[in-house]
Symmetry: C2
Subunit: 506 residues, 2 copies
C-alpha cells in the first residue's frame, strides 16, 4: 500500500509507525502487528493506529523509525505487512512452560536491545518469567546475552573487584567507603551504580554530590586504571542495555523476577570485567529478602551463576530492617560517609558494614590474608588512605577533591518529628522513611532527606526528636511533614495507634 | 507542582498525561505511575514522559483526560502524585497465584472498563491468567462483572435463544441460516456477532453485505421483539465492554486464556439476556481445539459456567479441519448461504451443520419435540420460512429485503489455483486458506475471498482447478496468488513438496 510519509518528531523508544484505522484495515494489520517499508527491509515497525491523528493515506513515522531510515525516504512509501519477530514466539514458549534454547535467548535479547518488541510483549515475557522463572542454563544464557549485546570493559590486569547491593535498605551509603578502601589497597574496582527509582538515593545520586557520574565505558576503564576505582552511573554507559530496557517495564509492574534479578546483577558485573565480587544482601522487614533463608537462597544462586560465568562471588547477608547509619538522602548520606573517612566518627552500623564488605574484597583480591581483611579495611580508614583515594576518585571524575563534609549543603527547610510517647521504639518502618525522604524531595533535590536520631530498640521520651526532615523547598517539607504525621514511621511502645471518639448511634 | 496545560488532541484509549522528564523527576513519578490533577479528584491519570515533546513546566493532557475534565481546566493546574489503582495489586495477586475475592474481581473489571489500567498492566493480568488460569468461582465472578459493567438487554418474554461459535474454521456462515430458522419458529434470538480480527470474515462482516449491522442495545431489543431475530455487530454496543478491552491486548499477544475465553463468550450472551444457548465448538487441525477431548473439556466448562449464570447451554462439537461450505470471504459466503435459503442447493457441510445446530435450539426452545429439531430446521429451510424471516431481518436492519444471491457482487479479479499432481487431496490447510483470502482483501473488501472446488479426500487431476481467488483490487489478487503459489494450501498425494537440485560439493 502506498502511503504518504508524515514524520512525527516524538521519541517512543520503539520502532513504531501510526496508520489511520481505514488504511490499517485495508492493509489487514491490527494494533501490535508489524509492517515493513519497502526497500528498507532492515526495518520492521510496530503498528499503532488512530482515527484522528493521521489522515487516511498517510503513515506517521515516529522519531526512531526516521533515525533508522537515516531520514532518507521518498514522500510516498510502499508499506507492507511483515511478520512479527521470532522473539514473540519465543516469549510464547516461556508462557507455555517450555525451556528455551540458547540461540532463542540470544534472539530474544537482541530484539529487546534493538527495540523490536512492544511493551506489552515485554510485559508478557516478564510476567511469564516472574511466574515460571527460568532454569539455571537459561539464566546463564540470558546473562551472557545481556553482556554480549552491550559495551564491555576489558582490563589488561587482574583481579578486577566489584561489589553490589541488591538494595531495599535506606541510607546504604557504604559504597562511598568500600570503593576507596579497596582501591587504596592497589586493587581495581570499576564500580557502576544506579540512581534511585523508588528509593531516596542510589549510589550514583550520592556520588553526584561530589563529582559528575556520567561516563562512557572507555572513560570508566581509563579512570579505573589511573586511580584504581570509580563510582559512576551505569545508566550513562551502554553496558548490558537489555537490562535497562527490561527494568523500564519491571518497575511499573512492580515485579523483579528472580531470574531477571540474577541476570541483571551479574550482567552488569560481567560487562565491566569484574572477576571477584561481593554481594550485599540486606534481609529483614521492609527489604527485598524477608528472612535469612531467602537471603541464603539468593546467595547460592548468585554464587552458582558466578561460577558459570567464571566469576568468583561471595555474599554478605546483612541486617536490613533498620537504615544503615543515621541519614537518608544524597547530601546527608555523603556528609555522613565523608565524616567517617575524615574523622572515623560516625554510626557503628555504617563503619562496621563497610569494613566487613571491604574486608571480604581485600581477602578475595589477595591483598589481605584470610581473616585479616576487616582489620586492613579499618586500618585503611583510620590511616587516611581511604580518604586520600576518594579524593583521587572525585578529582578524576571532575569533582573538587578538597571538599570536606562541612562543605556539603543540605536543605535549608527542616522540621523535627518527635516521639509521641515515652518508651522504647518498637518498630521503625524503612519504607516510610524512604517515602518521607522522597516527599521532601530526595533524590532529585540533593539536599533533601531524613536524619534519624533514634533507632529501633532505643528509648525515647515524649517530645524528644526522633527524625529531622530536610528539604530544599518549603512546599516539599510541608508534604513530608503531613505524610509523617498522618502515618508515623515509628512505633513507640504504649503509644496510642488511633484515637476514636465516643460513638453515638443515630 | 504547578504545570501549564497543553492539550494534546490524540486519543490513546487511556487516561494519560505526559510530563517532561525534568518535572517527572521533581514530582518523583516514573513512567506508569499515576498523578492526579488537584480539584479533579475523580481522575487519576497514567504518567508518560518525554524529553522533547513537552517542555518543562507543561503537562500534556491526552484527549480522554480532556474529556474527563469536561474540557474545564485553568491554564495552570496543580499536579500531585497519586496511588496506583488497587487493581494493580489485584493483578499482582493473580501473578502470585492467590485466589481473588469477588469484590476484587469487581474492582478489577471496573478499572478495565474505566481505562484506569495501563496496557502493560493488562498484559501482565492476561499473561498471568493464561499461565495460572482462574478458578470456577473467579471465572463466574469475572463473567458477571463483565455483564454488570456494560449495557444489558432485558426481554419481557422468554425463552431468549442464542448461539455462538468459538471460531477457527473458515467459511462458517451458518449463523445466516440458523438465526432465520430459529426466529421463523417464533423464538427470539438477538444475535450479536464479531467482525474478523484474524479471520477472513466474521458473521458481522458477512451480514454487512446485506444490511447495516451497527445498533445500540435498545435497538437490538426492539428489532428482535419485532421480527424475532437480528444479526448485528456486538462491537457497536456497550455490551460487556471489559471483554473488548481485554481482546485488544489478547490479540497482539496471540493468547486467549481459558478463563477469559469462557468469560468473554458467556458475558456477551448473558448481557443480551440469552437463556438457552448452543455453542459450536469446531475441533481438529487448524482450529482452536486440537481434538475432541479438548472440545469436551471446553464444553463441560461452558455448560458449568452456564449453570452458575442460570443459562442453559448445549454444545455441538463439530468437525473444523475443513472449511464449512465452499466459500471463504464476506460476499462469497453470503451468496452461498442465500442460495441454500432460496433453492436448498449448496454444500452438504453447510446445510447439515446449520440444521443440526438450529435443531438443537428449536428443541431447547420447546418448539420442537426432543429428536425433532433437525427435521423442523430442514423443513423451515425447505418451505421458504427461513428465507422469508431473513428478509424481515434484513429489512428491519435497513437492508434491501428483495436481494437474491444473484445480486451480490464479488471481486472482478479472479485467478485459479490448480492441482500440482494427480491424486487425492491429503491436506487442506485452513489457516492458509484464510491467509490467501485476507491477502486478496477480505474481510475489508467484501467481494474478496476464496472459492473452494475440491476438499480433503477428493481426487484431482493435475491442472484441475482447486481454488478460485477473488479480489476487488488487482494488486491484492497478485499478492494472494504469489502467496498461494509459494506455499500451497493443499497437499495432493504424490506431489513433490520441494525440488532440490544436484548438490555439488565445493
Amino acid at each position: 500500500m502506498q502511503l504518504k510519509v508524515q514524520p512525527i518528531d516524538i521519541k517512543v523508544g520503539k520502532y513504531k509507525v501510526i496508520l489511520n484505522t481505514i488504511d490499517a484495515k485495508e492493509l489487514g494489520v491490527n494494533k501490535g502487528d508489524r509492517v515493513r517499508i519497502k526497500n528498507h527491509t532492515t526495518l520492521t515497525a510496530i503498528v499503532d493506529f488512530t482515527e484522528d491523528m493521521i489522515s487516511p493515506g498517510m503513515i506517521g513515522l515516529y522519531h526512531e523509525v526516521q533515525e533508522q531510515l537515516q531520514r532518507e525516504w521518498t514522500e510516498i512509501v510502499e508499506v507492507e505487512p511483515a511478520k512479527k519477530p521470532k522473539s514473540t514466539r519465543i516469549i510464547r514458549k516461556v508462557m507455555d512452560g517450555f525451556k528455551l534454547e540458547r540461540d532463542e535467548i540470544n534472539e530474544l535479547v537482541k530484539d529487546i536491545v534493538e527495540e523490536n518488541l512492544d511493551d506489552i510483549e515485554l510485559a508478557a515475557f516478564l510476567t511469564a518469567t516472574y511466574i515460571r522463572d527460568l532454569s539455571e542454563d537459561e539464566t546463564e544464557w540470558l546473562t551472557k546475552a545481556m553482556i554480549d549485546t552491550g559495551e564491555r570493559i576489558e582490563f589488561s590486569s587482574s583481579p578486577i573487584m566489584d561489589k553490589h547491593s541488591i538494595g531495599g535498605v535506606p541510607g546504604n551509603k557504604i559504597t562511598l567507603l568500600i570503593v576507596p578502601i579497596v582501591a587504596a589497597n592497589s586493587l581495581l574496582i570499576p564500580k557502576t551504580s544506579s540512581r534511585a527509582i523508588t528509593g531516596a538515593g542510589g549510589t550514583a545520586d550520592l556520588m553526584e554530590v561530589l563529582a559528575p557520574v556520567e561516563f562512557t565505558a572507555q572513560q570508566i576503564k581509563e579512570m579505573t586504571e589511573k586511580v584504581g576505582g570509580v563510582i559512576v552511573w551505569g545508566g550513562a554507559t551502554n553496558i548490558a542495555p537489555a537490562d535497562d530496557k527490561l527494568i523500564k517495564i519491571e518497575y511499573p509492574l512492580s515485579i523483579d523476577p528472580h531470574c531477571q534479578l540474577l541476570a541483571s546483577i551479574m550482567a552488569k558485573k560481567g560487562a565491566v570485567g569484574a572477576q571477584k565480587v561481593v554481594m550485599d544482601l540486606p534481609t529483614g522487614a521492609g527489604t527485598k529478602l524477608p528472612d535469612i533463608k531467602a537471603g541464603r537462597k539468593l546467595a547460592r544462586d548468585l554464587i552458582s551463576l558466578g561460577e558459570r560465568l567464571g566469576m568468583d562471588v561471595d555474599c554478605a547477608i546483612t541486617y536490613g530492617a533498620s537504615p544503615v547509619g543515621r541519614t537518608v538522602g544524597p547530601a546527608l548520606e555523603v556528609i555522613e560517609a565523608l565524616k567517617v573517612l575524615e574523622t572515623m566518627e560516625g554510626p557503628n552500623s555504617l563503619i562496621e558494614k563497610s569494613a566487613v564488605i571491604a574486608g571480604m574484597l581485600l581477602e578475595m583480591g589477595g591483598v589481605a590474608a584470610k581473616g585479616q581483611g576487616y582489620d586492613l579495611a579499618i586500618e585503611t580508614l583510620k590511616n587516611g588512605k581511604a580518604l586520600a583515594k576518594l579524593k583521587e576518585i572525585i578529582e578524576i571524575q571532575g569533582g573538587n577533591p578538597d571538599v570536606t563534609h562541612k562543605d556539603i549543603k543540605v536543605g535549608e527547610f527542616t522540621a523535627e518529628l518527635t516521639a509521641p510517647a515515652n518508651g522504647y521504639i518498637l518498630e521503625f518502618y524503612n519504607k516510610r522513611i524512604i517515602q518521607i525522604a522522597r516527599l521532601a524531595g530526595a533524590p532529585n533535590d540533593k539536599g533533601a532527606g531524613v536524619m534519624i536520631h533514634k533507632k529501633r530498640g532505643q528509648s525515647v521520651e515524649k517530645g524528644q526528636p526522633v527524625l529531622t526532615i530536610y528539604a530544599e523547598k518549603k512546599e516539599k517539607l510541608a508534604d513530608a511533614i503531613k505524610s509523617a504525621r498522618e502515618d508515623l514511621p515509628i512505633i513507640v511502645e504504649g503509644m496510642l495507634l488511633e484515637k476514636v471518639g465516643d460513638i453515638t448511634e443515630i
